[in-house]
Amino acid sequence: MSKFLTHFLFTYYIEYMAYTEEELKKELETKEYEYGFYTDIESDTFPVGLNEEIVIAISKKKEEPEWMTQWRLEAFRIWESMEEPTWANVHYEKPDFQKISYYSAPKSADPNKTLDDVDPDLLEMYRKLGISVDEQKKLQNVAVDIVVDSVSVATTFKKTLAEKGIIFMPISEAIKEHPELVKKYIGSVVPQKDNFYAALNSAVFTDGSFCYIPKGVRCPMELSTYFRINQAGTGQFERTLLIADEDSYVSYLEGCTAPSRDENQLHAAVVELIALDGAEIKYSTVQNWFPGNSEGKGGVFNFVTKRAICEKNAKVSWTQVETGSAVTWKYPSCILKGDNSIGEFYSIAVTNNYQQADTGTKMIHLGKNTKSTIISKGISAGKSQNSYRGLVQINSRADGARNFSQCDSLLMGNECGAHTFPYIEAKNKTAMIEHEATTSKIGEDQIFYCNQRGIDTEKAIALIVNGFSKEVLNKLPMEFAVEAQKLLEISLEGSVG
């Protein structure tokens, strides 16, 4: 190649890079939340504020039995005595819990309705989001329990599941129809007094999903719930309770998108998984709540408590793709109580603009020969802060416990931060623990290599990020993997500086 040509190409490359950096950064900054629209549905909303009356009123509204009301009140009293935690590496204006309305239900909701009766406005909203209930019913073989604000409006595939003896319904119905199961397990993994937000959730949760897989049953389809926050100024307090009886299997999907809002919205969910002897639960989440605009205004506060308990030979696998929310505070955990139980945690957390994420997992090894794997990929861009916080605890009786953890962080731009706070506690001499963490940026040579081969910078970044997160993406069920990949691209478009 002639000297001239080499020189030309080199200059071109430099200019090209410079162009991308600035242009893409600009593009990214102005990129508004894709799903930021707001559907006007008449809502039945409670007055703002929280006191015992409100808790009782929620319970009444849900037509709950007395024991549930008492359980909620107990939680409320605990919550009152607690303080908001401040240890997480996130900074935000504390929500005023007396300025939130704790109940809101779309008026058109009626549990007995079929899909055809659903408010056309709602259906339109799902269409915009790309969630076609009928289509999913037919094509994807997914039973969808759609939650808008706080009440389930459409439940499909109930019949197919019922044939197998699987119970899949909104938790409010389950409290009425299967009180013995709910009573036995609710709060057994995440007790009311567990933490501030769990206590709040226990007091005021309005809906969520309940799932029970009977002994030896393999759930024939992916169970999925789409959560939406729609009503301005309403916090959403989901409660999910999933029980997999002995030797059963279930894969559960949870995905969220939320419309654009100026004020911060609070989301404090509690998810409890119970995997009895030999059961396996795969719980996947794609979280894409509104992250706030490019100035860091608005956005959802996502304070979630997720925990699983594994009995003998049971396995729980958490997979999460976190791209949304202004502030995330989330640690899906496994208590490996039974011998030979397995806990897994696969996570991709992407933060951009002013997003803050403090996420990770806890693996508590109590039983013998318990195993846990943690793969966490953090990607921070813009002015965001991304933290991994995890605990691996091997207790003195957990002979032969094994853990492998890997947390990698990718930094894009020099105004973001990536942090790791792993806690490793071993009290047993047979424990084998490996922990690894790396932080780096996308190599210029990697991008250059792609450019050389005719792949533009934007695509190259997507390619590299995909490669970086592949280990986790692979763990997602098929239909989610595609969506997640798309999400990653949207959240990171042009964020390399």
């Binding site: 003195s396 792993p422 806690y423 506690e425 790396t438 932080t439």
Partner: protein, 427 residues
């Protein structure tokens, strides 16, 4: 107040001390509720009524304490007995370099300039135990190496406690200033000679100017009733190299707060440690490396072997500031648990605000490889020796970076003793 009777109120650093005392009174001893002390409790120490100022001077014969020195080589020695300088055991110098006492440096006018610039400048002014030391410390080593100088031999700093007091609280305070292009090697050791309780709350400030080289070795092989809280603060300028080695084999409770502040470019900071514990010993390594300028490196390598009911803690924090691009920060913590009651808590932390960096940390907890053990046994090496050999190998990475051969040999002996074996050769 006893303090006022025992110190000179007219002293130039009196104000610094008063501020420090005020801070300590506000904060008190750290409790387990504080994140930095999550895994180490000082409760058992606070129950003991320590005397702060020894009543009388105690003399020691060299032959009684010879084994605590690296006596195979000639060294400068700064020796303290119950916190009081022992001129009989020491060997100081003012020949080109200053290797002498803090008390002298704080009072004599010729040192005033340096004291004004460096004393209590990098040590934390709000960490309670550091301020406790600032308030009460009376004595310590003062080492000043001027530009382009290197002392002819290594420097040993030894603290003996004789046990003539029922329980003694020692608060030594060292100041080490190494000017541009100078070099120094320092070995520090705390030794209790009886089974009376002692608590040492030491603070060392190290200033490494441009291109300076500092090697600091801490030998912690104290009696089972001795506790040590060691606070070391290191300030580094451009192209300086500071290595701190910590060998923790003894003591009841040891807490090492090791803080590195990189105030320049192209700095290299190394923190290495070997910890071998038994019985009910507790060691907590709490390291901080703050990368404040671009193009610097830091390396941490801590190995721990824990048996009986011992507990080990490793808390390593790396902070990379936004402007500290091209930082390479590596941290490694490997642990072997030998008994059922031993436990290890490890918390490697990365806080990174710059994008063009390479940072990693690795932590492992495991056992000796059964296959390797079998291999050695099948070649006629008894199990105990085979295990010791593997543990040597495990710690060898760190040992190989010790630059004083006699010191290395001494540490090897200490390890062999701790493991209860004689391999008949040095590694």
């Amino acid at each position: 107040m006893a303090f006022e009777n025992n110190v000179d109120v007219e002293h130039p650093v009196h104000d610094v001390r008063m501020a420090a005392i005020k801070n300590f009174e506000e904060k008190g001893f750290p409790s387990k509720k504080e994140e930095a002390w999550k895994y180490t409790s000082l409760n058992s120490l606070q129950k003991i009524d320590f005397s702060i100022f020894p009543k009388e001077q105690n003399a020691l014969e060299y032959k009684d304490v010879k084994r605590y020195f690296i006596h195979e080589i000639d060294t400068y020695k700064i020796v303290f007995v119950d916190g009081i300088y022992s001129s009989y055991l020491s060997e100081t110098t003012h020949d080109g370099v200053d290797i002498c006492l803090m008390s002298a440096a704080l009072t004599k006018p010729m040192y005033k300039q340096i004291i004004d610039v460096y004393f209590n400048k990098i040590a934390s002014k709000d960490e309670s135990l550091t301020t406790l030391n600032t308030a009460f410390s009376r004595e310590g080593a003062y080492i000043y190496i001027p530009k382009n100088k290197m002392p002819k031999k290594p420097i040993e700093i030894l603290h003996f406690s004789t046990g003539n007091e029922a329980s003694l609280l020692l608060q030594p305070r060292n100041l080490i200033v190494v000017e541009e292009n100078a070099e120094v090697q320092i070995i520090e050791r705390h030794q209790s000679l009886t089974s009376n309780d002692t608590l040492t709350n030491a603070v060392t400030e190290i200033f490494a100017a441009k291109s300076a080289i500092v090697d600091f070795y801490k030998i912690q092989n104290d009696a089972a009733t001795a506790s040590l809280i060691d606070n070391t603060y290191v300030d580094q300028k451009d192209k300086s190299v500071v290595n701190v080695h910590t060998f923790s084999f003894g003591g009841k409770l040891t807490r090492n707060n090791l803080n590195f502040y990189q105030n320049g470019e192209y700095i290299d900071s190394t923190m290495n440690g070997v910890t071998i514990l038994g019985e009910k010993q507790h060691v907590d390594h709490y390291t901080l490396v703050h990368h404040m300028q671009p193009n610097c490196e830091s390396h941490q390598d801590y190995k721990g072997i824990y048996s009986d009911s011992s507990t080990g803690v490793f808390n390593g924090k790396i902070i990379v500031d936004k402007i500290a691009q091209k930082t390479n920060a590596f941290q490694k913590n490997n642990n072997i648990l030998i008994s059922d009651k031993a436990s290890i808590n490890s918390k490697p932390q990365l806080e990174i605000f710059a994008d063009d960096v390479k940072c990693s940390h690795g932590c492992t907890i495991g056992q000796l490889d059964e296959d390797a053990l079998f291999y050695l046994q099948s070649r006629g090496i008894p199990k105990k020796e085979a295990r010791a050999l593997l543990m040597y190998a495990f710690a060898n990475n760190v040992l190989s970076t010790v630059r004083i051969p006699e010191l290395k040999a001494r540490i090897n002996k200490l390890i062999a003793k701790k493991l209860g074996v004689n391999l008949g050769f040095d590694l």
